[in-house]
């Protein structure tokens, strides 16, 4: 067997060249057969569900922030900031995601407003991240192409654990915004943001940085931590739920394949997590049919589940399943979890994902 080829996760390196040469970049992906009539019905947009959920979201954010400030200086502020942090640092990710796709609301400006607010809460440049996510959908977990691979191989388990605290993301995101505000984009960013859009990324970064400077100035003027606990720092203490749910999207599964059933995971979750996550636990379904709004994903799941691997019944189950895979990847990075298809499914095509895993079998 040929030795393992080390993965190069830069977007302008050896893996990039190989992905383009082998046809993995911008490839035709597998889709479960769904009639045009059925998918058209599922794709239909409506403002109603997202307006309802956004009202609940905003009221919960303002209410928990008000409670936290009111009880500031006592232990009673902790539960309020616990809720506020998750809403700020985690649920903003799913709002960013759905509104970035333009599927949450039917009305475009509503998607755009929530997208901009959520991008700010996440310390994400709304321009560069829109493009990186487009690439993520074109080349999902294609090494050298996908800009959003959360856990690379061999896995850095300490880094993955620290992700729950938000420290690493914070440390990356804030300097990235400052760098972009000075007009500097990295070669990776330039590889997926078209030239005509790059100046917009710089302007957006300047707005974000200006708001953070104003927040720091306010905190200094007030001689209080409260402005920072409300703006910016929740990205640290409230990010754990985003990582808890988001890591499961692709971790431990195949890379360099063109079938989302192999590299993406659907996990059943409790209703609170599904509200925070806006149903992105139906992640195979989302990647196969990104036009389907979050509120229609459970119906899509029912329609195509005969063709998909059995979903993990819980987050706990999914993490228990993936942990030994990660440990094995430390020694043998080509190893991955290949999930079984039900007998009703169309089989996987072999040509892009048959890896000899015998070396990992010891």
């Amino acid at each position: 067997m040929a030795g393992t080829v080390k993965r190069d996760y830069s977007l302008v390196g050896e893996s990039t060249r190989r992905a383009i040469e082998t046809g993995l970049a911008s490839a035709e992906w597998y889709h479960t057969d769904v009639s045009r009539k059925a998918i058209k019905e599922l794709m239909q947009r409506s403002d109603g569900p997202a307006i309802r959920d956004t009202i609940i979201w905003v009221v919960a954010i303002l209410g928990s922030a008000a409670g936290g400030v009111y009880f500031w200086g006592t232990w009673w502020c902790v539960p309020f900031f616990f809720v506020y942090g998750v809403l700020y640092g985690s649920s903003s990710d799913s709002r960013w995601h759905e509104c970035g796709h333009g599927t949450a609301f039917r009305t475009r400006w509503m998607n755009d407003v929530v997208y901009q607010i959520a991008s700010f809460m996440l310390m994400r440049n709304p321009v560069t991240w829109r493009w990186s996510h487009a690439r993520h959908h074109t080349d999902t977990i294609i090494v050298g192409r996908d800009a959003e691979i959360a856990v690379m191989r061999p896995p850095d388990l300490l880094r993955a654990a620290l992700a729950f605290t938000g420290i690493l993301d914070f440390r990356y995101s804030l300097p990235a915004l400052v760098r972009q505000a000075f007009g500097k984009l990295t070669p990776d960013e330039k590889s997926y943001v078209p030239e005509m859009e790059q100046h917009k990324a710089v302007i957006a970064a300047r707005w974000h940085v200006a708001i953070y400077i104003a927040t720091i100035a306010l905190a200094l003027t007030m001689r209080s931590w409260v402005p920072l606990v409300i703006i910016g720092v929740p990205r640290l203490y409230g990010t754990w739920h985003m990582v808890l749910t988001g890591l499961l999207q692709h971790i431990g599964l195949a890379d360099n394949v063109i079938d989302h059933r192999l590299n993406t995971r659907t996990v059943y979750m409790n209703p609170i997590s599904r509200f925070i996550y806006w149903n992105m636990n139906y992640h195979v379904e989302h990647h196969m049919f990104p036009m389907v709004p979050y509120h229609a994903l459970p119906r899509l799941h029912e329609m195509i589940k005969h063709d998909l691997p059995e979903p993990n019944p819980s987050m706990w189950h999914a993490y228990r399943e993936v942990w030994p895979v990660l440990l094995r990847q430390l020694k043998y990075e080509d190893y991955f979890l290949k999930r079984e298809l039900p007998p009703t499914a169309r089989p996987y095509r072999g040509e892009f994902h048959e890896v000899n895993m015998s070396a990992a079998a010891e």
């Binding site: 794709m43 475009r108 487009a134 049919f289 036009m291």
Partner: protein
């Protein structure tokens, strides 16, 4: 002189929907608007090679199925990231229940 080519029957396209039409090695998208007018554009998104006929028609917008890029299918105008390049449109007429498009 550009030719008029029969693309489909009027009834082949539902209201506020789109179908694919292949001709001469090229792919087109044929639209029927909510006010029962017909339009035609190139069949692939200008961002990446995705069939617009698999997308969603909303009013005068076609949304690409791959990255949700939006175009005005009446004018071909790209409506923002991730699509930046306009879509080529083609003249359309309806004759005797057939949708005809003029291909340059």
């Amino acid at each position: 002189m550009a030719d008029w080519v029969e693309a489909c029957a009027v009834d082949d396209v539902e209201e506020e929907d789109v179908i694919r039409f292949d001709h001469g090695g090229r792919t087109f998208a044929i639209y029927r608007s909510p006010d029962d007018e017909f339009f035609a554009t190139d069949g692939f998104c200008t961002h990446e090679k995705a069939h617009l006929a698999d997308g969603l028609v909303m009013d005068d917008i076609i949304e690409c199925p791959k990255h949700n890029g939006r175009f005005n299918y009446k004018t071909g105008q790209a409506k923002g990231a991730p699509v930046c390049v306009n879509l080529q449109t083609y003249p359309v007429k309806v004759e005797a229940g057939k949708v005809m498009i003029q291909i340059a």
